[in-house]
Assembly symmetry: C2
Amino acid sequence: MAADKKQVEQITDMESDFAQWYTDVCRKAELIDYTSVKGMFILRPYGYAIWENIQRELDGMFKKTGHQNVSMPMLIPESLLQKEKDHVEGFAPECAWVTVGGGEELEERLCIRPTSETLFCEHWANILHSWRDLPILYNQWCSVLRWEKSSRPFLRHREFLWQEGHTLHATAEEAVRETEQQLEAYASLCEDFLAMPVVKGLKTDKEKFAGAERTYTIECMMHDRKALQNGTSHYFGDGFARAFGITFADRENTLRHPHQTSWGFATRTIGGLIMTHGDNSGLVMPPRVAPVQIAVIPVASHKPGVNEKAGELLRALSGAGLRANADFSDNSPGWKFAEHEMKGVPLRIEIGPRDIEAGTCLAVRRDSGEKLSLPLDGVAERAGLLLGDIQRSLFEKARRNLDGHTYAAKSAGEVREIIEGGGGFVKAMWCGGAECEAAMKDAAGVSSRCMPFEQERLSDACAVCGKPAKSMVVWGVAY
Amino acid sequence: MAADKKQVEQITDMESDFAQWYTDVCRKAELIDYTSVKGMFILRPYGYAIWENIQRELDGMFKKTGHQNVSMPMLIPESLLQKEKDHVEGFAPECAWVTVGGGEELEERLCIRPTSETLFCEHWANILHSWRDLPILYNQWCSVLRWEKSSRPFLRHREFLWQEGHTLHATAEEAVRETEQQLEAYASLCEDFLAMPVVKGLKTDKEKFAGAERTYTIECMMHDRKALQNGTSHYFGDGFARAFGITFADRENTLRHPHQTSWGFATRTIGGLIMTHGDNSGLVMPPRVAPVQIAVIPVASHKPGVNEKAGELLRALSGAGLRANADFSDNSPGWKFAEHEMKGVPLRIEIGPRDIEAGTCLAVRRDSGEKLSLPLDGVAERAGLLLGDIQRSLFEKARRNLDGHTYAAKSAGEVREIIEGGGGFVKAMWCGGAECEAAMKDAAGVSSRCMPFEQERLSDACAVCGKPAKSMVVWGVAY
């Protein structure tokens, strides 16, 4: 980058090196920056603005269904983390420990939260008394730490931003309904807001959350046909409640343990957005989540009246509630086009002297490159309709990718052939045995993504051992 | 608390024990809960909802003036923290250190951010190139850790929520303007939104932020006449930029160091809200920040039509954009009154069979206890006006407390007499010497709160040493 002028730089083609293309987009669309601590990333203004839009949407959904936000501490005493056995076994290897505070060695070391079930449980043991207090429907927006060996922007951070919902219910049925409702909220966010089609299902025992009875998941397919787990929702039964001594008096004044859920959605979804919609010119943002929906670019802006008209246009768009900006900098129009393409702005509107004379402007779609002349009169309404069309087109394109690369297989060998032949999601029957799950992984290099809600009876036999099948599993290579 | 029914419990009178009254309100208005880690608190839904309202208001102000949100990591390598000498001296004693991650001793220990200047500086050294990149106007919402010895809800947490703004500018003048602009934003938030009058001023060298050239502050007076520092804004000059090697090419292509600011506002303001407006029945929330502005309470709700009418009333109020709720629980009206009083809901509206017959409802102001019969027809408009009046009354009452307990003194002895005689803010002239500042503290038990923008020439002599005075200082006992 020259010291006196920013340049939009070339990025690697996704066909030649998908991983490098991804990293290039993260850096050059100014979503992220690296730090001197491995695995810890900076979300730059454009990347954080995407997260803010996701937050606003999800937070609204949570509040509509009666959830309340709270703030828990970031540190968990080691003894508290250890109270639920499966949970600590799952998370202890990835913990970061605070051992010194205020210049002194601590008596007990404190873990930076990898997730907050234990903190919520400690609190609930204090505040829950009666069936009248239930359900308790809490959520918090925060960051968590998991000290993983490898890291990639958005997909795997040692520290990442997320929301974690935690709820308590009088009955198992109600808790399961909550778990499913929140999965549906994530699915709706992905499909309707992020234009990312999902496969909804249940995790196998091997893949479920540490301490959960059931984990529900939504799985998305990326451009390279790998899977991205994009939001999970867990039903805990009363296991944590027993471990933490959480009880309530029911209507008959009998002490009982409540049933619990948790569910989380993280910034890794931004990695999914990039790999679902991006192309060789950079990001492609679905309009509903885009920080900037329309970039107004004055052409021949030195000519009298051009910047004024571009300003009017901007006000008309903004006034209609569209997220628009205008680039009045002295960079060339070509440079501006490339920059807004890199950032995936859904619609670019160019306006120059000839457009002004004709009472029109030129709209260019980021998704298709299509150019349309729009009358300036009523431009905001037409632009709004175009944005709606772009949102739908992106979803349909992603849906075609998912449907077009979802296969059925009858054996581990067939699964391997599909994965080696370009990859995708592979449906296959499963006996329910952990050995067969491990064997499939060894044979085909895939993991079980989920047992989808939409079950099919492809055959009666497990694709690995041939014994009677219990359910259909979707297999894939995961991020 | 009985297992089958919540009770609104008595709280300590503020006249008999102000500190206990404060703690009682924090607990019994369900703002906060303690945890097993000293100094780490839980913000419960009602407490967090207050913070969300403050966030929304401040975030809107920041964005209007061109600031962008970002997210920095929570961990700072020790070597990075040490790059600016005054800064590390100020913060190192309060650091919490991560020494183990992923089961291994770390090569370099990592501090949980007590504040993030060093992280922003490291990032800026990477991304700043040209005068075209300036100003950089960033903000982040996060929590920070300071391992203090003592702790109190909201006022002193080891972990607290805040925003920290960090900006870079081409010139010192512009950076100073930014520092002052952001202080004005805090002052406006306090006065217009939180109904807390402020004294604006400059900190003395002793009281300024570690590493800053200047620290601006707003100081509020509590019921007990102690001072609460409520938002600070710092001008750093180019000291950090030099220490971190941050440069930009100016218009003549000469490399220069930018000038820097930072400014922060924290959840401690909620402690200030409690101690400014609260009374012996609990919290008193100014309507603009109140999570619930109006509580609708059906009276004799077993009578036909009462709950229906209360529901209609609720919809009318909510439909007009007021934050209203209705309590249809089977608790007694008296219990509900006490609970909403404890939580400081600005307006309670009671509706029973006789009101319905008369086409009215009964509004009860939390601030004054005044009762007003309101026609149901047009009730939302009248309720809105009442809320505006409550907001103004609370501000005026707090203003009277501040003005009525701000004194002038000519000697340290006079300052001590005022503090011992009930306390308040004491204005006195100062020579600018650190010795006199320390001597005043020893003599009167006060610290310098600030050199207010509105300077008066009370005399020509320093109240401590009698030498020529340079400025007027406001002294007080601080939280």
